[in-house]
Amino acid sequence: MVRALINCPKTAKKGEVIEIKTLISHVMETGYRPGADGKVVPRDILRRFTCRYAGQEVFSADLFPAVAANPFISFTTVATASGTLSFTWDGDNGFTQTETVAITVT
């Protein structure tokens, strides 16, 4: 079960800087570690995180094997208009997950 937690204000004033915090369940297996059988466990990491605000990309990050499991990503953006923020994580083995959050800007 993959689950993501997103902490983002539900309402904001126009022009206000809002802080968004995200946390996702992921093993972030580096591809360098041997398993119990001595064989290297294949790499399984998230490679990219993207946040879109009303369809427009406002933040993105590349992730690498050195990033810890269950990555926490925090960033800020400017509240421009009411709409949806969508958060997408893409990774190895075709992994993709998108979460959306609505924000009301007054």
Binding site: M1, R3, L5, N7, K21, L23, I24, S25, V27, M28, A68, A69, N70, F72
Partner: protein, 256 residues
């Protein structure tokens, strides 16, 4: 108070009996952590254990099979019904006639009331439920039950705590009673109060139970770790909980 029962072998080696930590000197493992790790635990939006809690919350109201009842259909809203429950465990189980810890209680409930197979030790769903139930006791004092039937098991747990084991021949007490606050290699030795389990441990990059932690310590002194669910581990949990009585439950805690 609990009297420590020392095995004859330990007395023969001439170790002085480790003194219990006085109540006013007891400190949670939280106090031994770096400020950044403390911050991770304080802020739920930063604490990765909340991912397990979210899963546990979803499982709580979800029927595990079409014909089975969900946890919520008997226990209702966990926020009310499970308040203070985790702070009491391990507790005496009538059916088994022995103490069981919270995770064993969850599995007993699954087997008897939901007719489902027990969840595997350290499995994600079991840790999730334990973390979700544990969260309902956060901020409450650890309250081991005053049940006379638990006393023999608690004494056995105390004896195990004071028994030297493994190739390094260390008892729990030698580190956690006599040398807390000092360092073992680079890491501070805490007092071993189980106030935040299940915990998100950075070293594990995941969630783990108190039994996993106890087995870890046993491996550390190069002893054969007891299997998950062993009576001895539950007895040790029971003793540790009475040792931490009155301290604040932190579940789900973060540890380095």
């Amino acid at each position: 108070m609990i009297r420590l029962v020392l095995p004859a072998a330990l007395l023969a080696t001439g170790f002085a009996l480790a003194a219990d930590i006085p109540a006013n000197e007891r400190r949670s493992g939280f106090d031994f952590m770096s400020s950044s790790t403390q911050q991770m635990q304080r802020d739920d939006t930063l604490n990765p254990a909340m991912l397990w809690v979210a899963e546990g919350e979803a499982q709580w109201s979800e029927a595990p099979a079409a014909a089975a009842k969900s946890c919520a259909s008997c226990h209702g809203d966990a926020v009310g019904s499970m308040r203070g429950v985790a702070a009491r465990y391990p507790a005496f189980d009538e059916r088994r006639q022995k103490p069981v810890d919270l995770q064993q209680r969850i599995n007993l409930c699954r087997e008897t009331h939901q007719q489902q197979p027990a969840l595997a030790a350290e499995s994600r769903p079991l840790l999730g439920l334990a973390a979700y139930i544990g969260l309902q006791s956060r901020g409450l004092p650890v309250s081991p039950p005053q049940d006379a039937r638990l006393q023999p098991a608690r004494s056995r747990g105390a004896a195990l705590f004071n028994t030297a084991m493994g190739q390094l021949n260390f008892s729990c007490a030698q580190c956690h009673n006599d040398n807390w606050g000092h360092r073992l290699a680079g890491s501070p030795i805490p007092q071993a109060h189980p106030t935040g389990y299940p915990i998100y441990r950075l070293e594990w990059q995941g969630m783990g139970s108190l039994q996993r932690r106890l087995r870890n310590c046993m491996t550390g002194v190069r002893a054969e770790p007891l299997p998950y669910g062993a009576d001895e581990l539950v007895e040790l949990e029971l003793y540790l909980n009475s040792r931490a009585a009155g301290m604040t439950v932190e579940t789900p805690a973060v540890r380095p």
